[in-house]
C-alpha cells in the first residue's frame, strides 16, 4: 500500500548515518586496538591513521543522525515514531532540543555526541597515549551506537532506532488507510513535567559529565596496557578535575531543577536516580585526591587505578539502574521498562567494561609500583588518603542501599525501603560530613612527607578558633531547629556544621597563610571552600526548612504525634486550602488567592497568590509580593504542578499547588434574585447585608478602565457579613454596539454573585443577587520556607570554579586561555544558578 503524505527520505538518511557511525566505530576500535599492540612505529602510524579516519567518519555520521532527528522533530513529521512521541505542534522552539533527549534513544545519542567531541580533542592532545585511550572511547561508542541501531539480528531487534515509523511501531485501525497521516493531527509532545528551562540545559551538562568519566578510565587502561604504570596520571588528572566539575554541576542542576519545578519539596530526595549519579562523582573525587597524592609522593597509585576504573564502571551501573526499569517501585523518575533486548544490551555494555578492566587490573596489581615506605601520620598524603577512603566508603554505602531492588530481583527477596528514607541516609552521611569537613580543613596545612607539629598548630589555631566562635554564634542567634530525631541527632548536626564551617574558614585562610595569596595555585583551596560551603548550605537549609502551610492555621486540628523534645505538635499536615479572595494566615504572611489565568501552553493555568506581611501591632504593611505557581491540567483531571518561589538573599518562600481541581466548571442552576435599590439602600442576603453606596458612571479604577465616552454604570456595593467582615463589589452594566452587557462581580468569600440588571424609572437600580451553596473556587497548596538555600548554589559554583582552576594549572594551560575559560565557566554558573529565574 502507498501511504500519502509521508516524508521517508529523512528517515532513510538518518538510518544510513546510524549504520555508518556504527560500522565506523567498529573500525576505529579495531584500528586503535591494533595500533596500541603494534610495536613497529611505521605500522603503528598507519593503523592510527586508519583509526582516525574511522573515528572522524563516526563523528560526522553521529552529527548527521542528530541533525536528521532535529529536522524530523522540528518539521513535525509525525509519521516518525520519535516525532510523534516527543514533539508536538504547540511545543515552543526552545524545547525542540529537549524533546530530542527526552527519549531513551535521544539521550544515548547525546552521550555519543559528547564522546565524539571528547574523542576529537583526545586525538589532538593525547599524543602517544592516543592508541590505547582512543580504543576505549571507540569501544564505548560501539556500545552506545548499538543502542540506537534498530536492526534485526536473528529475529531480535538490536537497539531501538529513532527513525522507526509510527505505523510500524503501534497498531491501530487508522494505519490500514493510505491517508492515515491526516488523522494524526498532533504529536504527544514533551512530557509537561519536563517543560522547563532545566530540561534544556541539565541533560547536556550531566551527559558531558558522564561522558568525561571515560577519560580517566581510558588512561588507567592505557597505563596498564603500555606498562607505563605511573605516567598516565599526569595527562589524566586535568581531565578528572574537569570531569568532577562538570558532573558535580550536572548533578546539582538536577537538584536545582527538582527544587524549582518539581513538587518534591526540596533539591535532594535520595531518589535512586539521584544517587546513581552521585556515587560515581564521590568515587571520582576520591580518585582525584589519590592521583594528586601519587603525583606529589608516589604513594596511592593502585588506589588511583581502582578509583578511575570504578568511576566509569559506576556510571555504567547507574545507566543500568535507571534505564532498565529495575528500580520500578522505588524511584519517582526512572525510565520505564525498555524491553528485554535493551536491558541485556545495557548489561553487556556494563560487563564489557567492568569485567575485563577489573581482571586486567587485578592481574597487574603486583606490577603497579607502590612505595615501600609507609606514609607518616604527620604527612599530607596520609590524611588525604583517609579522606579519599571515606568518600569511597560513603559511595559504597549509598550504592549498596540504592541497589536493594537489584538484590530483590536476583534473590527473590522482598526488601523495601525504610520508613524514613532520608534519615536512613543522613544518619550515616552526617558523620561522613564531620570527618570530611575536619579532614579538608586541616589537611592542606600538612606538608607532603612530613610536617613539624609546631607549624601546624601555629597555622591552624586561628581558623579553628574562628570556626568555633562562628558556630557558637550561629547556635545562639540562628539555632538549628531539627528536633525530630532527638538530641543526639541535633548534636551531630551541630558538630557537622562546625566541621563544615571550619573547612570553609581554614581553606579560605590557607590561600593567604599557606600560598601567600597566589591565586593561580589556589584551585584546591577554592574547591574546598566551595564544597564546604555547599555542606553548610545543605545542613542549614535542610534542618531549618519550615512548612508554613500547616493546617492548624486553618482552624482544623488533627491528631498527630507530639514532638519528643519541644512537646509541640509535630508533623503538621502540610496542605492548606485557600478559598478565592479569602485572606488566610500562613506563617508570617497573609495569603490571598486572587485569580487564575491561562498560560500559553495548552492546559496550563497560573494562580495568582498575593502574600502580605503586616506588622502585628500597627497593621502596617511590611512587605507584599505575588507568586504565580501553576499547574498543567491534563486529560482525565490529571495534573502536574510547578512551584513558584520568592527568593530572598537569606531564604526562599516556596509554594506549589497540591490540589486544584474544583467543581467550578459545573453549571450553576441558581437564579438571580432581583432587588430594587436606591443609593444608600440596604438589601439582605443569608449571611449579612449589603449597602448600595453609589452608582458610578464609566468607572476608572484598578479593575475597570472605561473612557468618558463609554456608556457603563457600576453599582458600588459594600457587603457586611455576620462575622463583621466587609467586602467591596462592583457589578457593571455596559451598553455598546452589541447591546447590553453585564459584567458580574463575585464575592467568593460569601458565595455571592452580583449583577447590575438595569435601571428603574424612579432613580433605583435593579441588582441581581445570587447565592450559591457551592464553594466556588479554591486551591490547595503547600508552602515552605527554605533558609539560606543560596549558600548551597554559591558553594557549588565555587567548587566547580576551583576544580577548573586546578585543571587549568595541572594542564599547564596558557594564562590567556585559562582566564577566558575561567571567566566563561564562572559567568555561566552564576547566571544559571543564581540569576536565571
Amino acid at each position: 500500500m502507498h501511504f500519502e503524505g509521508e516524508h521517508l527520505l529523512p528517515g532513510q538518511i538518518g538510518h544510513f548515518f546510524v549504520l555508518l557511525a556504527f560500522v565506523a566505530s567498529i573500525l576505529s576500535t579495531i584500528g586503535y586496538f591494533t595500533a596500541s599492540r603494534t610495536a613497529d612505529t611505521l605500522l603503528k602510524a598507519s593503523w592510527i591513521r586508519f583509526a582516525r579516519i574511522s573515528f572522524r567518519t563516526q563523528v560526522f555520521a553521529v552529527m548527521g543522525v542528530f541533525i536528521t532527528i532535529f529536522y524530523i522533530c522540528s518539521h513535525h513529521y509525525f509519521e516518525y515514531m520519535y516525532a510523534y512521541k516527543h514533539a508536538s505542534l504547540e511545543l515552543e522552539p526552545k524545547y525542540l532540543l529537549a524533546c530530542i533527549w527526552e527519549g531513551q534513544e535521544g539521550s544515548f545519542l547525546l552521550w555519543t555526541i559528547w564522546h565524539s567531541v571528547l574523542g576529537m580533542i583526545l586525538i589532538r592532545k593525547s599524543k602517544d597515549w592516543e592508541a590505547p585511550v582512543m580504543s576505549v572511547v571507540s569501544l564505548a561508542q560501539f556500545f552506545l551506537l548499538m543502542m540506537i541501531l534498530g536492526i534485526y539480528f536473528f529475529g531480535v531487534r538490536i537497539g531501538s532506532s529513532p527513525f522507526t515509523l509510527t505505523r510500524n511501531e503501534i497498531e491501530g485501525p487508522i494505519f490500514s488507510m493510505p491517508n492515515y497521516l491526516t488523522f494524526i493531527k498532533d504529536g504527544i509532545g514533551l512530557n509537561v513535567l519536563l517543560r522547563n528551562y532545566w530540561m534544556v540545559i541539565h541533560p547536556p551538562i550531566l551527559f558531558l559529565g558522564f561522558a568525561s568519566t571515560i577519560i580517566p578510565f581510558a588512561y588507567a587502561y592505557a597505563g596498564i596496557q603500555t606498562k607505563r604504570f605511573g605516567e598516565w596520571i599526569q595527562p589524566a588528572l586535568p581531565w578528572a578535575l574537569i570531569s568532577a566539575a562538570v558532573l558535580g554541576t550536572g548533578i546539582m542542576m538536577g537538584g536545582k531543577w527538582a527544587y524549582e519545578s518539581l513538587s518534591f519539596g526540596g533539591y535532594w530526595a535520595w531518589d535512586p536516580v539521584e544517587n546513581a549519579s552521585l556515587v560515581p562523582w564521590l568515587i571520582l573525587i576520591a580518585g582525584l585526591h589519590t592521583m594528586a597524592i601519587y603525583k606529589a609522593t608516589g604513594h596511592s597509585l593502585r588506589a588511583s587505578y581502582l578509583f578511575a576504573i570504578l568511576t566509569f564502571v559506576f556510571i555504567l551501573y547507574s545507566t543500568f539502574l535507571t534505564r532498565t526499569g529495575i528500580l520500578g517501585d522505588t524511584s519517582v523518575h526512572a525510565f520505564t521498562e525498555a524491553g528485554n533486548a535493551m536491558n541485556i544490551m545495557i548489561l553487556l555494555f556494563l560487563a564489557a567494561f567492568a569485567v575485563p578492566m577489573l581482571v586486567l587490573y587485578l592481574r597487574n596489581i603486583k606490577k603497579i609500583p607502590a612505595e615501600q615506605k609507609e606514609e607518616r601520620t604527620d604527612s599530607r598524603e596520609f590524611w588525604m588518603f583517609i579522606g579519599s577512603l571515606v568518600f569511597f566508603l560513603a559511595a559504597l554505602f549509598i550504592i549498596a542501599k540504592t541497589s536493594v531492588p537489584v538484590y530483590n530481583k536476583i534473590f527473590g527477596t522482598k526488601i523495601a525501603p525504610p520508613e524514613k528514607i532520608e534519615i536512613s541516609y543522613n544518619k550515616v552521611l552526617i558523620p561522613v560530613i564531620i570527618i570530611i569537613g575536619l579532614l579538608s580543613a586541616v589537611t592542606q596545612y600538612f606538608k607532603y612527607k612530613n610536617t613539624p607539629a609546631s607549624y601546624i598548630l601555629k597555622k591552624i589555631a586561628l581558623p579553628t578558633l574562628l570556626a568555633a566562635v562562628i558556630t557558637t554564634l550561629l547556635a545562639i542567634y540562628y539555632p538549628i531547629t531539627y528536633y525530630k530525631q532527638g538530641a543526639g541527632f541535633l548534636g551531630a548536626i551541630y558538630v557537622a556544621l562546625f566541621a563544615a564551617i571550619y573547612s570553609v574558614i581554614a581553606n579560605a585562610a590557607y590561600i593567604w597563610a599557606g600560598l601567600n595569596g597566589k591565586l593561580k595555585a589556589a584551585g584546591a583551596s577554592v574547591a574546598h571552600v566551595g564544597f564546604a560551603l555547599l555542606l553548610v548550605g545543605i545542613l542549614i537549609s535542610s534542618s531549618n526548612k519550615k512548612v508554613i502551610s500547616n493546617s492548624s492555621v486553618n482552624g482544623i486540628n488533627l491528631q498527630v504525634g507530639k514532638d519528643p523534645m519541644t512537646k509541640e505538635q509535630d508533623d503538621p499536615t502540610e496542605n492548606l486550602t485557600l478559598i478565592r479572595q479569602v485572606p488566610t494566615k500562613m506563617g508570617p504572611y497573609e495569603v490571598t488567592y486572587l485569580r487564575d489565568s491561562l498560560g500559553n501552553e495548552k492546559g496550563r493555568r497560573f494562580y495568582e497568590l498575593q502574600f502580605e506581611r503586616k506588622d502585628a501591632v500597627t497593621k502596617k504593611m511590611l512587605e507584599h509580593f505575588t507568586l504565580w505557581p501553576d499547574v498543567y491540567l491534563m486529560k482525565d483531571n490529571n495534573m502536574s504542578s510547578n512551584p513558584d518561589t520568592k527568593t530572598y538573599l537569606t531564604k526562599d518562600v516556596f509554594t506549589y499547588i497540591s490540589y486544584a481541581i474544583s467543581d467550578a466548571a459545573k453549571t450553576d442552576t441558581t437564579k438571580f434574585k432581583i432587588k430594587e435599590l436606591a443609593e444608600g439602600d440596604t438589601a439582605f442576603y443569608s449571611n449579612g447585608y449589603m449597602v448600595l453606596d453609589a452608582v458610578v458612571k464609566n468607572p476608572e479604577n484598578g479593575k475597570y478602565h472605561f473612557k468618558p465616552t463609554d456608556a457603563a454604570l457600576m453599582a458600588s456595593v459594600t457587603l457586611f457579613s455576620k462575622d463583621s467582615m466587609h467586602y467591596k463589589a462592583g457589578p457593571v452594566v455596559l451598553i455598546d454596539n452589541f447591546g447590553v452587557n453585564h459584567i458580574d462581580d463575585t464575592v467568593y468569600a460569601q458565595n455571592l454573585f452580583l449583577r447590575f440588571e438595569g435601571v428603574t424609572d424612579g432613580k433605583k437600580i435593579k441588582l441581581g443577587i445570587k447565592e450559591s451553596d457551592k464553594i466556588i473556587d479554591f486551591i490547595t497548596l503547600k508552602a515552605y520556607i527554605f533558609p539560606y538555600i543560596n549558600i548551597v548554589w554559591t558553594g557549588l559554583i565555587l567548587m566547580a570554579i576551583g576544580l577548573v582552576m586546578s585543571a587549568i594549572r595541572r594542564a599547564k594551560l596558557s594564562s590567556f586561555y585559562a582566564a577566558v575559560a575561567l571567566l566563561f565557566v564562572g559567568a555561566a554558573l552564576f547566571y544559571m544558578f543564581l540569576f536565571a529565574n
Binding site: 485501525p173 487508522i174 517501585d329 566508603l393 523495601a416 492548606l576
Partner: protein
Amino acid sequence: MKRTHIILLIAIAAMIVGLIVFSAGDFSTYDTIGSAQQNPGKFVHLIAKIDRSQPIEYDPVKNPNYLSFYATDSLGGRTKVIFRNSKPTDLEKSERIVMKGKMTSDHFECNDILLKCPSKYKDDKKELEKTISNLPG
C-alpha cells in the same frame, strides 16, 4: 602498628557500622494486606489497587489533609486507607499503587503513596495504541 593497618581498621570499622545500619531495622518489607493486618503497627509497603466500588473521599475545603479510600490486593485482601495529605491528582487513574505505612485496627494509616499510572509512562505502547485508536476517523 603499621599505618596501613590503621587504615584497614578504619575501613573495617566503617563496614561494621554500615552492616549494623543495614540490619538494624533500616529496611521494611513489601507485604500483602492480609499479612499487614496480622502485624498491626509494623511499617510496611503495600502493593494494591484502588477499590473502585467504594467512593474516594476527599474534600479539600473541609480538610485538605484527609483522603480515604479502599484498597484491594491480588490476594483478595481489602482495607480502608487513610492518607493525611492532599490527594495525588491521578489517583483514580492509577492501575497500581504502592503505599507506605502502618496497619491499625480498622484502617491502613498511609504515609506515602507512589502511583503507577499509565499516563506517566509515555513509552508504554498500549497507551499509545489507545491514543491512536481514539483519534477521530
